[in-house]
């Protein structure tokens, strides 16, 4: 099935929106009416047809527009894509994972032919036709990580494993929820999670790290994380916070439906075969409040989650300026009826 790719923007005039089909497949992150940090890791198994987890790498209607936005970010700030010298093998591992997944699961859009080390990659939506030699960087126009992640939705971090820890030694990060790859590069799992409130104290990171150190090849895992963003802006980086932070003060009862977005990250982790590194993908999904309330269960539930969210979490996620206005707006869609367990709309 061909995906109808949209023409839209994630900055300036913000023309991004979700089709009805995209709303239905939105990875809603709450399976109950309250939220707290937990070690919410599960196997990255294929989900139902057309869902965001049907395939390991999800390509959707926003693909072409997101790749154009990534190009703008990298042109303005090349430090969003960095790799320490020992990560080259992991970069090739990542290229292999993404090319083989995309070509297998979206054959009408991508194809990969391999004859030994001679590979032929075709990306139809972006008009790319590339022959290259696997593990010979001179045969690609960019480093393997930058080359393939400029053609795949989601941010990616490559984590080296040593000294019983994971080290963020490479990555491409242009659709982040307010953290800086340039600052975090070279940090370990506990260090880069330093600013997160409450979770350290309840042992979340210690247990998550232990689990990840034992991640097996061929058995990827995933988790959902969420925050909120004003305007459908993908690049909410600390680097540009002095430009976009002001958006958080522009929410009024009249514009909540269009301005306020739930931002969900579908994060998946794979052990890589040659490097023994781990790839961490952070696939960002945005949905406007107006779109979200078309699913009555999600509207009721988000209202309750947001209303009852611990203050530390709201502050950390940067919701404080517009939380009240948003909760008031959502309350119109919450009749107090019970919600069914699980993520899915009724």
């Amino acid at each position: 099935m061909t995906i109808p790719f949209k023409t839209e923007t994630f900055r300036d005039d913000f023309t991004f929106s979700n089709s009805e089909a995209a709303i239905r497949r939105f990875p809603f992150p709450f399976d109950r009416d309250a939220y707290m940090y937990a070690v919410n890791i599960e196997q990255h198994m294929p989900g139902p047809a057309k869902s965001a987890t049907e395939f390991p790498i999800d390509i959707d209607e926003h693909y072409v527009a997101e790749m154009a936005d990534r190009d703008l970010v990298l042109k303005a700030d090349p430090l969003r894509c960095q790799s320490l010298p020992h990560m080259m093998t992991a970069e090739w591992d990542l290229l292999e994972l993404l090319m083989t997944s995309m070509a297998r699961d979206y054959p009408e859009h991508f194809s990969l032919e391999r004859s030994g080390r001679e590979w032929h990659w075709i990306n139809r939506p972006l008009g790319i036709d590339q022959r290259f030699t696997f593990e010979d960087p001179a045969t690609l126009p960019l480093s393997p990580m930058e080359y393939i992640t400029r053609q795949c939705q989601g941010d990616f971090c490559l984590l080296d494993q040593r000294d019983d820890n994971l080290w963020m030694d490479a990555g491409i990060v242009t659709t982040q929820a307010d953290w800086s790859l340039d600052f975090d590069l070279g940090m370990n799992f506990i260090e880069w999670h330093g600013p997160v409130p409450l979770a350290h104290e309840i042992g979340v990171f210690e247990r998550a790290l232990k689990f990840l150190l034992n991640l097996q090849q061929g058995r990827p895992v995933r988790r959902l994380n969420w925050t909120m963003t004003i305007n459908p802006r993908l690049d909410t980086s600390p680097e540009n916070y002095h430009r976009w932070g002001i958006d958080r003060t522009t929410v009024t009862p009249d514009n909540v439906g269009d301005k306020v977005h739930l931002r969900v990250e579908l994060q998946a982790l794979w052990r890589l075969p040659r490097s023994n590194a781990i790839v961490f993908s952070i696939r960002c999904y945005l949905i406007k409040m107006r779109e979200l309330v078309t699913q009555p269960k999600w509207a009721r539930r988000l209202h309750r989650v947001l209303r009852d969210l611990p203050g530390e979490l709201a502050d950390y996620k940067g919701l404080t300026n517009y939380r009240e206005t948003t909760v008031a707006w959502l309350s119109k869609y919450d009749d107090g009826a019970p919600t069914s367990p699980g993520f899915h709309p009724d």
Binding site: L79, S180, D182, F183, D184, L185, G186, M187, I190, E191, W192, H193, G194, P195, H200, P238, E239, N240, Y241, H242, W244, G245, I246, R248, T249, N321
Partner: protein, 198 residues
């Protein structure tokens, strides 16, 4: 103040008799720690060279104090920048069995350990002791400019002029804390200044 999980823990200088050579890099504020650590170890002192950052007003008391150390060599440098150039060269030429000692303010230790790590010198190969100023070295996340010895938050960025909140988040690779625009969501309204060097 909350514990900064990404912040390094500095140590206490304790020269090892097993090292063949001892390289000391310090600020004047760290000189006392060096005097204490190297006292009474003649055989070590004869294999030690000191690289000291000497501000202009240090001159009068200087020579007796440095002579009293009894080190093999003493080199003086006018600024952190110049001493770091020497540190890079020294590490690239250092023989096996060389130990590195760093003493001074956190901003100096940040930069020197960061450079040492980039040269492959870390772990048991380097000892540190924090003395004197407890100001932080801060990187502006917006323009990426660095500032030494920041004691208050918010602080005005030397480079781009934004008011920055200094976050409790530290990068060893950069040797700096992160500074983020303090008034992005309320231009001109700044939080109450607080000391961050306590």
């Amino acid at each position: 103040m909350p514990v900064v999980k990404s912040r390094p823990v500095w140590g206490r200088l304790a020269p090892s008799p097993f090292a063949r050579r001892h390289l000391v890099f310090c600020e004047v504020a760290g000189l006392g720690a060096v005097e204490r650590a190297f006292a009474g170890t003649d055989s070590i002192r004869q294999r030690t060279s000191l690289n000291l950052i000497v501000p202009p007003d240090f001159a009068p008391a200087r020579s007796e104090r440095l002579d009293a150390l009894g080190f093999e060599a003493v080199h003086e440098f006018p600024s952190v920048e110049t001493v770091l150039v020497r540190l890079r060269v020294s590490l690239s030429q250092a023989a096996m069995g060389t130990l590195l000692y760093l003493a001074g303010g956190e901003a100096f230790l940040d930069q020197a350990t960061c450079l040492a790590e980039a040269c492959g010198v870390a772990g048991d190969g380097v000892q540190t002791e924090h003395c004197g100023s407890t100001g932080r070295r801060v990187q502006c996340v917006h323009c990426k400019g660095m500032m030494a010895d920041v004691t208050m938050s918010p602080v005005v960025c030397d480079h781009c002029g934004l008011h920055l909140t200094v976050r409790d988040h530290y990068s060893r690779r950069l040797g700096a804390f992160q500074g983020v625009c303090a008034d992005a969501e309320a231009p001109g309204v700044l939080p109450e200044p607080t000391r961050i060097d306590a």
